[in-house]
Amino acid sequence: MKVKKSKNDIVNDYIEGLKDDIAPLFIDIRATVLAAGPSLNETIKWKNCLVYGTTKNHIQTVVGKGKVSLIFFDGASLKDKFGLLEGDGSKARTMRITSPDYNKKALTDYVKQTLKNK
């Protein structure tokens, strides 16, 4: 699978180390996020979270068993017209993705809104 190399060595190492069952989904999600927000920088926070941010952290990716969760740190301020954001906390919201047929339009919208609200 073709992977766009990150400017960050740590991110490339992390992607290479992903298990085969989750790597294609993770790479596809990463491509969607970066297409929607080209200004986002990637980094690995601690050992297993890919974080997208600009001058502040905006989105965190957590890889679980058969799923990838995207945590929008300021998700409560997003307009959720697709109804895919979970959580009732004061700030963060989560989008859980389990299959390659996930709603790319929704993810793109959430990322664009996140960058607009920053």
């Binding site: 400017k7 740590i10 601690w46 050992k47 600009t54 957590v62 969760s69 740190f73 989560t94």
Partner: protein, 255 residues
């Protein structure tokens, strides 16, 4: 703003975990704030382009870092301000380095050093020059290492009184063993926690009862050392340190 981070394997016999290059490209030129939290590493910075300021959290006063600076272990938060565009080379140095550092290492200090003569043209060139300096200048302070793995005390120290050991720790690392352990415990907590989303496990489920009595105990220590609460920390952007921490973990996962 575009950020890049490259790393190169260091020389563990010299106490150098890895070398790195960090660059920020930005148009327009914007200052980037970096929040550093305590870690059990020394960091050597070589500023090739741009400027780095240390910001005093109490007064907000900014002090420009010298081109070559060694950051000792600190047990309080450190704030830096990067002026983009920026290119910084660096070396991450382990506690083993502290035991052979040729100067006194007071905690919470930024020491002016000259490890690179002339100009470092690339990460490889920087690594070569720094390794050569450390190899030439290093001076083992004790015949055997004080710490075995992590912050585990070596067996030979059992013959010394607590007061004498405290002096030894202060002179080598600039901090007491208790303070080193506090840093280690905080890092151990952060290593295992990353999902703070609603509906996911709460912080209390990640608190190790053998280390922290309860969550307020953790919060108190965390806030004292980092200046923010655990949840606030995860939202804070610390571009350089996030990369350094991840690279440290990859270099030595069993630390």
């Amino acid at each position: 703003m575009k950020v890049s981070f490259q790393k190169k394997r260091g020389d563990h016999t010299l106490g150098i975990d890895f070398f790195w290059k960090f660059a920020i490209e930005s148009k327009p030129r914007i200052p980037v704030l970096e929040h550093f939290i305590p870690e059990l590493f020394f960091d050597f910075f070589y500023i090739k382009a741009g400027r780095v300021h240390w910001v005093d959290p109490a007064t907000g006063k900014k002090t420009a870092l010298r081109q070559q600076t060694l950051k000792t272990i600190h047990h309080r938060p450190l704030h830096f301000q990067f002026s983009a565009p920026l290119v910084v080379f660096g070396a991450r140095l382990s506690l083993a380095f502290a035991e052979s550092f040729w100067e006194g290492a007071k905690a919470n200090t930024l020491l002016n050093q000259t490890w690179v003569k002339g100009d470092a043209k690339s990460l490889e060139d920087f690594a070569r020059q720094v390794s050569a300096t450390v190899r030439t200048k290093r001076h083992q302070k004790f015949p055997r290492p004080m710490l075995s793995s992590g912050v585990q005390e070596a067996n030979w120290l059992v013959h010394y009184s607590p007061r004498h050991k405290r002096r030894m720790y202060e002179s080598i690392f600039g901090l007491s063993r208790k303070e080193l352990l506090n840093i280690r415990n905080m890092q151990a907590f952060l290593e295992q926690t990353c999902d703070f989303a609603s509906g996911s496990p709460r912080i209390i489920q990640h608190v190790n009862p053998e280390v922290f009595y309860d969550q307020p105990h953790l919060n108190r220590l965390f806030k004292k050392m980092t200046g923010v609460s655990p949840v606030e920390y995860f939202e804070t952007n610390s571009i350089l340190q996030d990369n350094l921490i991840s690279a440290s973990y990859n270099e030595n996962p069993n630390r």
